[in-house]
Amino acid sequence: MDVVLVDAGGTNIGSVRYALQRLGVDAALTSDAAAIRGADKVILPGVGAAGPGMARLRELGLVDVLRSLEQPVLGVCLGMQLLCARSEEGDTECLGLIPAPVRRFTEAPGLRVPHMGWNRLSVQRPHPLLAGLGDDDQAYFVHSYAVPVGDWTLATADYGGAFSAVIAHGNFHGMQFHPERSAAVGARLLKNFLEL
């Protein structure tokens, strides 16, 4: 299977690549349009801010490439947010592949931002991406912006209210947490994606 990791400058690319290697898949790290178009699976990682993330995709000429993809695509953390319509972070227009907004968490007593740590995943809609996910399964999150619950939501987590932890729209999928850093739960979800 030909899996590519889109190199958009995020610092967690190495971690995602190692996680795939632990699953027996050697994913190429690339910003080459032909390689991305020709892959069986495309993963868009990303740590950082939405504005610079989109700017980097534009510089690399990848915006239209990503919009044209028909194979399964997975965005991780910021990568997931870039698949959405618009982010409040720097009021950034994103790729618009999942019709969801991205909003900042509102700080409140006991509600620290960034949302950092392990939180329970709650399945809202059965989907092959979530196969085998148990009631007590948790994933590792680090983020200040989140996607609200909507038609796109497959699983939620709770932080001062429910937000989208896993989303999908057609062939585009997103995980707000870091599957590459979410132990056995994350490995299973990545494996599920590879098997879509």
Binding site: Y18, G48, R112, W118, N119, R120, Q138, V142, S182, A187
Partner: protein, 257 residues
């Protein structure tokens, strides 16, 4: 609900994990990757690696072992040790660390925190604070604590620095209460509670864990997000699976691996 994090801390020196008492007299605890995997298997939520001699020796962290750890484990980890610039931080993050922690270099040049937050986002930037209560009752920060001969007491008040670090872009604070470190009589709940009231980002307690009750107290009384410990885990005095079952039985939200 967000789980409270249990964070083993691995002090790294010359490529091995070491542990001292009150920051002195270090003894070798084992190989870095072996210990990292052991803690992952036991259900640690995160690991922190401190290259304890990097800052006093004026060098940055050795990236070779960072990449080895990143390949081997599938839980997040933070690396600290003499990171003085955006380029040095980038190298550590690209080697696979999830977060970088700055302590002495941020005291030398506080703008480093702003630069790191701008380059990588606040979620990558942890500020470690070594704090000790002085004779006048004030908590003040210490610098270069990795080497007792070079450790310096600064005039900067711990709580002032905690506020400034957040304003500059710290996404998490690790407060190491040196007065309680290594003696296993419990976290410094008084200092942590005062810090908590001023801390809008995640706060991690460090220094003093000896019994499971100490973790419970830090979470329920000082409301910290994570609790860091070293010797009780390295020695096997506290096993993480039992600790988490104990905490869950006392209404602390934790992840059972």
């Amino acid at each position: 609900m967000l789980s409270r994090r249990i964070i083993p801390c691995l002090d790294v020196r010359d490529g091995q994990v070491v542990k001292g008492v009150r920051f002195r007299d270090h003894v070798v605890m084992g190989e870095i990757v072996d210990l990292a995997l052991r803690y992952r298997d036991e259900g640690a939520d995160e690991l922190v690696f401190y290259d304890i001699t990097a800052s006093p020796e004026g060098r940055s962290v050795d990236r070779g072992w960072v990449e080895k750890v990143a390949r081997a484990i599938d839980i997040p980890f933070c690396v600290a040790g003499g990171i003085r610039s955006v380029d040095e931080a980038r190298a550590v993050l690209h080697a696979g660390a999830d977060k970088i922690s700055v302590n002495s270099p941020a005291l030398e040049r506080p703008a480093l925190i702003d630069e790191l937050a701008a380059a990588f986002g606040v979620q990558c930037v942890v500020v470690g604070i070594d704090s000790l209560r002085d004779a006048d009752g004030e908590w003040r920060v210490r610098q270069y604590t990795g080497d007792p001969a070079k450790t310096q007491a600064l005039s900067r008040r711990t709580l002032d620095w905690l506020v400034e670090a957040q304003q500059r872009g710290a996404g998490e604070i690790v407060l190491n209460c040196m007065g309680s470190d290594g003696v296993r009589r419990g976290y410094d709940l008084e200092q942590l509670s005062v810090a908590r009231a001023l801390c809008r980002v995640p706060l991690v307690a460090s220094g003093g864990a000896g019994e499971p009750e100490h973790f419970r107290d830090a979470f329920l009384e000082a409301d910290v997000d994570g609790a860091l410990a070293a010797s009780v885990f390295h020695s096997g005095a506290i096993a993480i699976p039992e600790l988490k079952r104990y905490l869950r039985g006392r209404d602390v939200t934790v992840r059972i691996a």
